[in-house]
Amino acid sequence: MLNKYIIKFILLFKGLYNSFGINPNQLEIILSTKLKMDDRRPNKYNQFKGGKKKETKNSSLLIMLFLAVMGLFITIFIAFFKQPFLGHTIYFSIFMIMLAFTLISDFTSVLIDTKDNYIILPRPVNDRTFSVARILHIGIHISKMAFAIAICGILYSFIFEGVISGLVFLLETLIATVLSIFLVNITYLVVLKITSPQKFKDFISYFQIAFSVLILVAYYILPRLISKSTIESIEIQNITLIGFVPSFWLASLHEVAINFKNATLSTNLYAALAVLAPIISLYLVVKVLAKGFNQKLASISSSGSDADNTATEIKAANTSFMNKIASLIAPDPIENAGFKISWLLSARYRDFKVKVYPSFAFVPVYFVYFGFIGKRGNLAESWNKLMEGNMYILLLYLSSFVLTTVLQHISMTDKYKAAWIYFTTPHQQPGKILGGMFKAVIVKYYLPFYIIITIFSITFWGFSVINDVILSFMIGIIYGLLVALFQVKGLPFSQPMVVQKGGKIFVSMLILSIPVGLGFLHNFAVKWEIVIWIAALIMSVLAWVSFNQYRKETWNTLELAD
């Protein structure tokens, strides 16, 4: 519905398009089709629902709704912090970061989509129509996102601060949007400069991961760590180098507009910069950056022809470490194959990385959340209290999140059809492949994490934590094996993404209660060192038995994709 009105508005200028040699009918069909496809495209905000590839509808509206809610939260900054510059600087800093991140993580695929080259360009569409359709499509997308983030702020400014403030806010939003685009453009160029076009898509995946972590941190930590009084005490205009922050220029523009008589010379200068910056950046984007940008984008899309076929070379050094570990801990040929395929594919399938890597941030985030949040006193006092207790146990047990997240995703991918190879090769016991997979997950994801946490724990709590580390590690492995036995019923990367069924959620809660319960017991028994050592030994034996059981999985117990 919204798209319909947007298209109608754009077509109001038919005469103008005709005079520039743009075909309005083709423009209309290209834009309406592109917007329809945007609505059906899975995005950053609905991909974590874990849904089976069911038909996505109104995807853009969903993103807009999400961004509007985020916009509502950040409107608090302009509603509650009335000191000069403060609210607007914070609001537009977050606005620009959100918009830039959303554009990079969700719209890059549209930007580098090469399908247009084969679908639209061979048709009788002239370059101008094609280019304008592309620019308008990107423009509509950006406007939707910017509007969604800013709508609450705009309404607040108009209703509670008056018409002038509302109009200035609109102008600030426009400037912030242009500057965000500039930021994105620069980011793309820098990335394309330092990396190969083939690696560009990987970069976008890492950006999506960073965005997820950012949202997680913003949601759990920031609101609780920074109190209103702390922010209110900040005199933002006195911060060194604040003059380099674009959102401060926007805040200055706001100050000049509503408090013109009291504006200082520097405030006026920053306000002028706010107006000039988008003009300069637009000039730079159009005249200087666009050319190189388009060439670079073309280089991303020009693979697979007579021209290049520059395959991504994998250096032997990258795999020799894996080969050594594999032959050491998975000597059985089939187990070795399961180990290597899980190790290699988990590093190369983007869908896996995007879903799993953000969970690595959960451990430190939750540790900070449980360790510091809600504690009385300042940060130093909280830290001292933390050192006196057994908080490292929480940290150790939190690490099993990483293990279970990896295990829950290791059998799933969009490219699951490539798994036919498992079913055509002559092996009776798929459990051996699963065993290799489990070992790869432990060595590649769980162990490094654990080593870092162990070093951290030993540094701050001393060597006496060693038995706790061993016990929790073994409980983590048993927990992982239970997850693998009851929840991971597929070979590595052999199943499509599916929604967890109700029954499975119950099972996962039941399995989760085991490390939670054992963790509490561990915490209770921590003062008896010998008990922990004995428990560690028992758990090691249990882990060994469970692993051997897991290794005996048969074809009958596996869930096979269609």
Binding site: T33, S305, D306
Partner: protein, 263 residues
Amino acid sequence: MENITENTTTPIISIRNLRKNYGDKQVLKGVNLEIYPGQVIGYIGPNGAGKSTTVKILIGLIEDFEGDVLMYNKSIKDDIVAIKSQIGYVPENAEIYDVLTPLEYLDFVGKLYGMDEEDIATRALKLLTAFGIGLNANQRMDTFSKGMKQKVLLISGIIHNPKIIILDEPLSGLDANAVIMVKELISLMAKEGKTIFYCSHMMDVVEKVSDRILLINNGEIVADGSFEQLKAGGDQTLEKIFAKLTGKEEGNTDAADVMNALN
């Protein structure tokens, strides 16, 4: 495009001294061709020989080339848009907006050719039914098999009833019945005077559907003639002719290497 007229004695496509470099790599080294209306050209060559580049130039995807490409006696550089309206193209890879349904996709493509919405809908449904996927007309294509997507691609290449049809591996993923149907379709369209430029690695199909075969190797046309004319050199199958002209005269050398590796 109404002013474009055709005559079976004058070439519909003329390629003159066509050259194209990618950096230091010379992909096309002066290709010369005259193609006449109603001809079915089988365009074959090994990987990297220059086939895709030739096709991309013909459909206007590559503009920075040396030499001339004339269609209807007009340089494609002068008015590529008008020329494109007479061309139908089916790409090698199943590039398709698969979140759309076949009808939505064909409506999109038809409108880019300036067709009327009702005409598109009627023709699209008839074509989808003829290709055996009429019942899937309103289903999103992201669940379609490769063959079903290929059928939609084929339809999108001919929905505007073009005079020149460029097919790049059009049979990829199609079932046997659909292959037979497309082969017959090519013959019928040629009889109607349409020019077909058919790129493929499937020698047996090229041998059967083409009335003129062009073989490109290392950016140069190394053979040009009907299958009967090419056979006059002594080799009885197109495969053997292909192997000979692309430097694999002892066609089984590579296979022998493979066997050696296994033993």
